[in-house]
């Protein structure tokens, strides 16, 4: 089954994926994703006779541990904060997302 991915579709996927794409990347992906999606769409034919069945995904039983703290307080904190691109004190700093009224 041939499936052509439109440029707007790819732009939308890029927004959902939080990846900014250049014009050149968009052009390449249009071709590449179309051919990959066409290839993988055979999955819908294979399982067509079983359309109502629900696949069982993942673990078949639960694993529990005791509800108690196992880390020593502050044990990893400084190492973790050292990896952060931008911190203020013991906090990660991010760009403002709310406008403050005057």
């Amino acid at each position: 089954m041939l499936h052509h991915m439109k440029r707007e579709e790819i732009t939308h996927l890029a927004t959902l994926s939080r990846i900014r794409l250049s014009e050149e990347e968009l052009t390449n992906l249009e071709k590449e994703l179309s051919s990959i999606v066409s290839y993988v769409s055979v999955v819908s034919d294979i399982a067509a006779d079983d359309a109502m069945a629900t696949p069982k995904v993942g673990a078949r039983y639960n694993i529990f541990r005791k509800d108690e703290i196992t880390n020593k307080s502050d044990y990893y904190t400084s190492d973790i904060l050292r990896e952060a691109p931008c911190i203020e004190g013991r906090y990660l700093a991010v760009k403002k997302i709310l406008e403050t009224g005057e």
Binding site: V40, V43, S44, A53, K95
Partner: protein, 473 residues
């Protein structure tokens, strides 16, 4: 017996005719001499010499009463966390990332005495089959440096094949240990899903990923696997020894060959080596029968739905805020979008977008839901097949190692994994080891055979592998 095996080194260390200090020095010297051309390593740990000196002392004092891997130089694929070391997943995204803890497998290997001498190159975030997707340049195949070593654990394979280390650890999501083992003439093992802890591995496809060894013998692969394996409280998907019914060892096995699957796209030389291998098995008293695996054959399509879906979820964590590459921008969304645009390479972006597509509203049922259904039915198909055969036999890859730059089309690259990806989808174990060579342009290129076992059948694969392969080296 091959020189560069753990078994040989261990015997020589105990006898006092060779030392860990000399072995680690030899590993570092080999890297210095050859790695300029091969580029198997992203990082080399000179401080390994300190641990080697200590191991040398321990052998002098305690001889054979030392841990089984004491003093063995090993290399780790650079998506495995080792505290205090740079772990990059061969991505610009994690170029300056320092691991803050040890992966469970690293903890177990070092407790058993292994000495990590370096981190190996790979396809970025383990996505690829040639190591050409590394953000830090490709690795070359030691058997022919115009060719790829395979991937994504290509650096680990090249590190063993060039003689630097007797064992390197890789990870296998769709063939990333077995395919490079095939291209580089090594033993490679993908365990039953859950046999080995994933705690401390940089996640790619969480329902598919397993870590395993690349070695020169099946005996070594078993020893290293056994050291890493076992239940881990940090990974709830690890399995207990009795999770699956016992898979008995036998003197003679029945091998099943999916003939129809081999009819298309397999290199003539690979087929010849494969037929010769079948003849060897029959001469040794095993039975080889034809089987049909129609769903297994469609595994590649299902894989390229399930895997990207998991990739897009797992890689959402790289946002430029908590760790990894961060690009300045005017607003928060801009930081996300630019950091990810600059940090990720081509193939990673492709798979994230594909995964986002198959999981998005309106397509989820048609792609992801259906692919998981194929996966379930494939497991049933395999369970039925293993009622009548003990081991499924295929070539590991359809061709020997290809040339650098030869596979520009993503789908052509993906097809190299056609025999290996269904194994990960089903969660079953598989062992690859050399079955011969194919001559290309005057060079002898190794090719591997793949033995696939039932769930929990890891021991059976090691047992037959030792009989068939280790007796020939």
């Amino acid at each position: 017996m091959k020189e560069n095996t753990i078994a040989t080194l261990r015997a020589r260390f105990i006898a006092g005719e060779y030392t860990p200090a000399a072995a680690v020095q030899a590993a570092l010297d080999c890297i210095k001499e050859k790695d300029g051309e091969i580029h198997a390593f992203l990082d080399v740990y000179e401080d390994a010499l300190l641990a080697a000196a200590d191991a040398t002392k321990q052998y002098k004092e305690k001889g054979k009463d030392t841990p089984p891997l004491l003093g063995m130089p090993i290399a780790l694929k650079n998506n495995i966390l080792m505290k205090g070391k740079h772990v990059t997943a061969a991505s610009k995204m994690l170029e300056h990332y320092t691991a803050i803890y040890d992966a469970t497998i690293v903890q177990r290997l070092t407790e058993a005495g292994a000495i990590v001498v370096g981190a190996t190159n790979m396809d970025e975030f383990a996505m690829g089959g040639s190591t050409e997707n590394s953000a830090f340049g490709p690795t070359k195949n030691p058997h022919d440096t115009t060719r790829v070593p395979g991937g994504s654990s290509g650096g680990s394979a090249a590190a063993v094949a060039m003689g630097a280390v007797p064992v390197a650890i890789g990870t296998d999501t769709g063939g990333s240990i077995r395919q490079p083992a095939s291209y580089c003439g090594l033993v490679g093992f993908k365990p039953t899903y859950g046999a080995v802890s994933r705690y401390g591995l940089i996640a790619m496809g969480s329902s598919l990923d397993q870590a395993g060894p690349l070695t020169n013998s099946v005996t070594d692969a078993e020893l290293v696997h056994d050291t890493m394996a076992g239940i881990d409280s940090m990974d709830a998907t690890t399995i207990a020894p009795d999770t699956y019914p016992e898979v008995p060892l036998k003197e003679h096995y029945t091998f099943g060959v999916p003939r129809h699957f081999l009819a298309d796209g397999v290199d003539e030389g690979v087929l010849q080596a494969f037929e010769a291998h079948i003849a060897r098995l029959e001469a040794a008293g095993h039975t080889v029968v034809d089987i049909s695996l129609p769903l297994f054959e469609k595994g590649l399509a299902a894989y390229y739905v399930v895997m990207p879906a998991e990739v897009s979820s797992n890689l959402a964590r790289y946002d430029g805020i908590r760790y990894g590459h961060s690009a300045p921008a005017d607003d928060l969304l801009g930081v996300y979008e630019k950091s990810r645009a600059e940090g990720f390479g081509k193939e990673v972006k492709r798979r994230i977008l594909l995964g986002t597509y198959v999981l998005s509203s309106g397509y989820y049922d048609a792609y992801y839901g259906k692919a998981e259904l194929v996966r379930k039915k494939m497991r049933e198909e395999l369970a039925t097949t293993f009622e009548t055969v003990d081991i499924i036999l295929t070539p590991t890859a359809p061709t020997p190692a290809f040339k650098l730059g030869e596979k520009e089309d993503p789908l052509a690259m993906y097809r190299q994994d056609i025999f290996t990806v269904p194994v990960n989808l089903a969660g079953v174990p598989a062992l690859s080891f050399p079955m011969g060579t194919v001559e290309e342009e005057g060079k002898q290129l190794p090719v591997g055979v793949q033995y696939i076992g039932p769930l929990g059948g890891d021991k059976r694969l090691f047992a037959i592998g030792k009989t068939i392969y280790d007796t020939t080296i």
